[in-house]
């Protein structure tokens, strides 16, 4: 499975770019998370890392499609 992920905040700094293609085994958000942490160990050091698909938060068992808009959501700090 291959998806394009978009990153904000510190997640963008960890990827060192705004968007990247990730190829990983499996179909769920949990599988994608595992691959990302393997490639970029800094993700494991965040207070949290959530995922949004098509502008909604999704859980780890969410099954991704290759054309989904996948966004990495590190700890938010608005307000």
């Amino acid at each position: 499975m291959k998806v394009t992920v978009t990153a904000f905040g510190i997640a963008k700094d960890i990827l060192n770019k705004k968007q990247t293609e990730v190829e990983y085994s499996g179909t769920t958000v949990a599988d994608l998370r595992q691959q990302l942490i393997q490639e970029f160990p800094e993700f494991a050091k965040l207070a949290s890392l959530k995922f949004a698909v098509n502008t909604d938060y999704v859980n780890d068992d969410f099954v991704l499609n290759s054309n989904d808009e996948v966004v990495l959501i590190p700890p938010v700090s608005g307000g």
């Binding site: 978009t6 905040g9 510190i10 050091k45 502008t55 959501i73 590190p74 700090s77 608005g78 307000g79």
Partner: protein
């Protein structure tokens, strides 16, 4: 009527008051989150806010809708600044109105508490000697 609003321009508390005021609302409560000049004793030069805008707008709208419904508000607005924000200026303004002041207080506090948990906006603090994404690390 800009119930939820994200802008690089300076926010206006008077505009927020005007948006939630009507002749039937007795109690208006407003929260203004200003940029502070220090954090844990360290001098802050300015903040820079980044938003995942389509989702931030959606989450802000959810908060306003939930608050209006749960506390029977007349109106609620949530305005958030993005980009570079100088010390003392507004990062966020939330205002709401209802016939009963207790409802307005509870709804306004719920809105800012929830915004800080769910709305995809990130702030970076800039110091003399570096910069840091707020709350990113445990």
């Amino acid at each position: 009527m800009e119930q939820v609003y994200i802008s690089t321009d300076r926010l206006s508390s008077q505009w927020c008051i005007d948006l939630v005021s009507d002749d039937g609302s007795g109690g208006l409560v407003m929260f203004i989150g200003n940029v502070r000049n220090q954090t844990k004793g360290k001098t802050v030069k300015y903040l820079d806010f980044e938003a995942y805008e389509p989702m931030a707008i959606k989450e802000m709208q959810k908060i306003a809708d939930t608050a209006k419904d749960r506390w029977k508000l007349h109106k609620m607005v949530i305005h958030h600044r993005v980009g570079k924000v100088p010390i003392g200026e507004e990062a966020v303004i939330i205002a709401c109105s209802s016939p009963h002041r207790k409802a307005s207080f509870e709804a306004c506090e719920y809105a800012i508490d929830t915004l800080k948990e769910t709305v995809p906006i990130w702030k970076k603090e800039f110091f003399e000697d570096g910069e840091v994404w707020v709350s990113a690390r445990p």
